[in-house]
Amino acid sequence: MAVTTAERTAPTTIKRKKNAFSDGQGALAAMLLAPTLLVMFFVTGIPIVMSIVEAFYRAKGGVDPNTGLVQTGSSFVGLQNFTDIFAHPSIVVGVYGSMDRLINAFINTTLFTVVCVVLETILGVAMALIMARAFRGRGLVRASILVPWAIPTIVSAVMWKLIFNTDGVANKVLGLTNSPILWLGDNRYSQMAIIIADVWKTAPFIGLLTLAGLQTIPAEVYEAAKVDGASAWQTFTRITLPMVKPALVVAVLFRTLDTLRMFDLPWGMIGPGKYSVETLSVFAYLEMNATRYGQAAAYSIVLFLYIVLVAFLFVKLLGADVVGDEELKAINAQRKRMRELHRKQAKASASVRTNITSGSAAS
């Protein structure tokens, strides 16, 4: 008798589940991810923290008048690097007239981001629609559309520099050999040159991500639309766009963040010091080049905070689902439901309690 009881009550080795949706592979997953996370910690994590610490120091730069030598070492200056960024306006003349250099760069960055991302999205979606169709030579068309994305940005910057040269192809094609446009000068044509080069390079990226989204749309939906007599435009706006929205929003978010920190295209193609195309990331580079690492780190952090703000707004307002983890979404939805349930129960029991009069208090 005792043996069977023991057998019956012997605990079976069931892996304890963290929640209703876990599949018990957490430990293995952690082990497999550990090497990557360790590398990221050393290559990215520690330098980022060191950079943040660096932003609170400043190199002592004083020149000794007797020996002509520069004082070495750096001293802690608290938030002075950050306040200096905003406190010393220097007036420059860009495309918008004369204004503070930082605000000029801020407007440039925002303008490039908005215009480039809008153009990229339109072109990218068009490319995706073409790539999704089945036709002869589709593989070749797909490969050739993706070539601009495959070329490193600095290489394409130098390449476009040759094209936009005063004696280059751009002026020849537009028939402007006698009164050439100075694309590489410091005017609104330089801005146009940057936008053209950036859209050329990155529209394929949005095309690629949108293509992935398009391929998840089942064919029956399109068939049903055709049966219902939907026109091509109605199909596009009522079926394709809504179903591809998750992928498209993520692609647009990535491109926005990328364009906000654009550096190599204006620097490589137009050159430094051109205020019509100066972006925020240039300041960090210039400070670093002058070996003022504290100030450079401060500029980087300011840019980083700006980008974090934009990303936060994107996720909150447009609902960009960056992680896309079904399990996580289901867990959060379940937690929400339980919370609502508890709140309702608490409200119900509270109202019930107030109706009960204490029996012992009577008389």
Binding site: G45, I46, V49, M50, I52, V53, E54, Y57, K60, G61, G62, V63, D64, T67, G68, L69, V70, Q71, T72, G73, S74, S75, F76, V92, V93, N165, T166, D167, P180, L182, L184, G185, D186, G271, P272, G273, K274, L286, N289, A290, T291
Partner: protein, 435 residues
């Protein structure tokens, strides 16, 4: 249960964050007292052994051959060539990186551009050379360009001065001699443009980079102005300096200088001259052999000559270019480094290098050497140019100084501000920088 897990997770994250911060804090430098590189490194001037010689990309192909000669003579003190980018800014960044990592890249002998001497010397990237070195046979301007606070930090190696390339065939046809003043140059252009329509007058390098500083420095100095006075204080808004800049602004406005020149660096301007689009070109001596090539790349081969650059009231003043050789403070075998520098820049080796690379030497006697002057006809003109040349402002923060000069010049040239306003603004900026 859940709260216990939460507490454990929170503690772990706080501990790891503290650990990261602690590691980071160890790495960052604390406020040390202002100590500078002491003279205790002087003891190593006698040490010999293998060294590394660092310069930008060797476009001549000659450097390794000369190094091989040294290695054959001194097998126990081998020299290895380390080639950096051909972009001057990247060379500077690489040398600074070596210094800030306390010599981790093992650079010993550095090829220092003349404008970096003050910055490298003041920050202790290169050591002051022993004071008993004999530099009397070298060009005074070159020795001066390697000196900081009356100590020689970089040994004179190569020099550079600007030349005025002009279309000899067109000037001869019109019966004109090369101009010595800007007004003469404009008048000559008018005559030539009447018979050769479509050709532009004068070209230089006016893109926003170091070349613009050189060109504007020449305009300012050729009009009698200075960037810094004898005591090192800025004097850029004098009438003479503004007059120099004003001439360039007017030249752009009336078409003497084509608008496209605002985007030209050395190579595009050379291309324009070689394609026959310019009467006069201001550029460095390297253009001479390239423009004379008879392989079809140059339409002006044999049709041009060189002259000193013109100025406001007489011959102009060129900017001094060139490279000197310095020794990294963190070099181990400074004895070999010093011997190598002196051997490389000895008269015989400088003559051989000039013949092989057509770089301007710094040994004064070579400019009157008959072998060289017969092969390089521009040498006497170049010597005159270098003798009168003025260095760009010597400042520890040269990077900021040159950016400020480029800002002022570019704004004036493309009409955003007037020349006077730009130079006044520059005066304010330089006063703050050159304190």
């Amino acid at each position: 249960m859940a709260s216990k897990n939460k507490l454990a997770r929170l503690t772990l994250s706080v501990l790891s964050a503290t650990a990261i911060l602690a590691t980071a804090a160890c790495g960052s430098s604390s406020g040390t007292a202002g100590s500078t590189t002491s003279a205790s490194t002087d003891a190593s001037w006698s040490k010999t052994g293998p060294i590394n010689y660092v310069q930008g990309k060797d476009t001549s192909g000659n450097v390794q051959k000369v190094i091989d000669k040294w290695n054959a003579l001194h097998p126990d003190q081998k020299v290895t060539l380390i080639e950096l980018s051909d972009n001057a800014d990247q060379q500077r960044a690489s040398m600074i990186q070596n210094a800030q990592s306390k010599g981790a890249s093992n650079y010993d002998v550095l090829s220092v551009d003349v404008v970096w001497t003050a910055e490298f010397a003041a920050n202790g990237y290169i050591s002051a050379l022993p004071s008993n070195l004999d530099t009397s046979g070298y060009l005074k301007a070159a020795v001066d360009s390697g000196t900081y606070f009356n100590k020689l930090y970089a040994f004179p190696s190569t020099s550079d001065g600007a030349l005025l390339y002009y279309r000899k065939d067109l000037l001869d046809a019109a019966g004109l001699k090369p101009p010595t003043t800007w007004a003469d140059m404009k008048a000559d252009c008018k005559t030539i443009q009447a018979s050769t329509p479509g050709i532009d007058c004068y070209g230089g390098q006016f893109q926003k980079y170091e070349g613009l500083t050189c060109n504007i420095a020449e305009m300012v100095n050729s009009a009698g102005g200075q960037f810094l006075d004898d005591k090192g204080a800025p004097t850029v808004n004098t009438d003479a300096a503004v007059a120099g800049v004003q001439w360039a602004v007017d030249a752009f406005k009336d078409g003497t200088i084509p608008k496209a020149a605002l985007t030209w660096q050395e190579e595009p301007s050379r291309q324009a001259f070689q394609d026959g689009k310019l009467v006069f070109l201001r550029n460095w001596p390297y253009v001479y052999s390239l423009a004379n090539k008879t392989d079809g790349s140059s339409k002006v081969a044999g049709k041009f000559a060189v002259a000193p650059i013109p100025g406001l009231n007489g011959p102009g003043v060129s900017t001094l270019g060139g490279h000197n050789m310095g020794i990294s403070t963190y070099s181990q075998n400074k004895g070999t480094a010093l011997a190598f520098i002196q051997w490389w820049n000895s008269p015989e080796n400088q003559k051989a290098n000039t013949i092989a690379t057509s770089n301007a030497p710094t040994w004064t006697a070579l400019y009157t050497d008959t072998d060289l002057t017969s092969q390089f006809q521009y040498l006497p003109v170049l010597k005159a140019s270098i003798d009168k040349a003025q260095a760009r402002p010597k400042a520890v923060k040269y990077g900021d100084v040159t950016l400020a000069i480029q800002d002022a010049a570019y704004n004036a040239l493309n009409g955003t501000t007037t020349a006077k306003a730009a130079m006044d603004d520059l005066q304010t900026k330089l006063t703050a920088l050159v304190k």
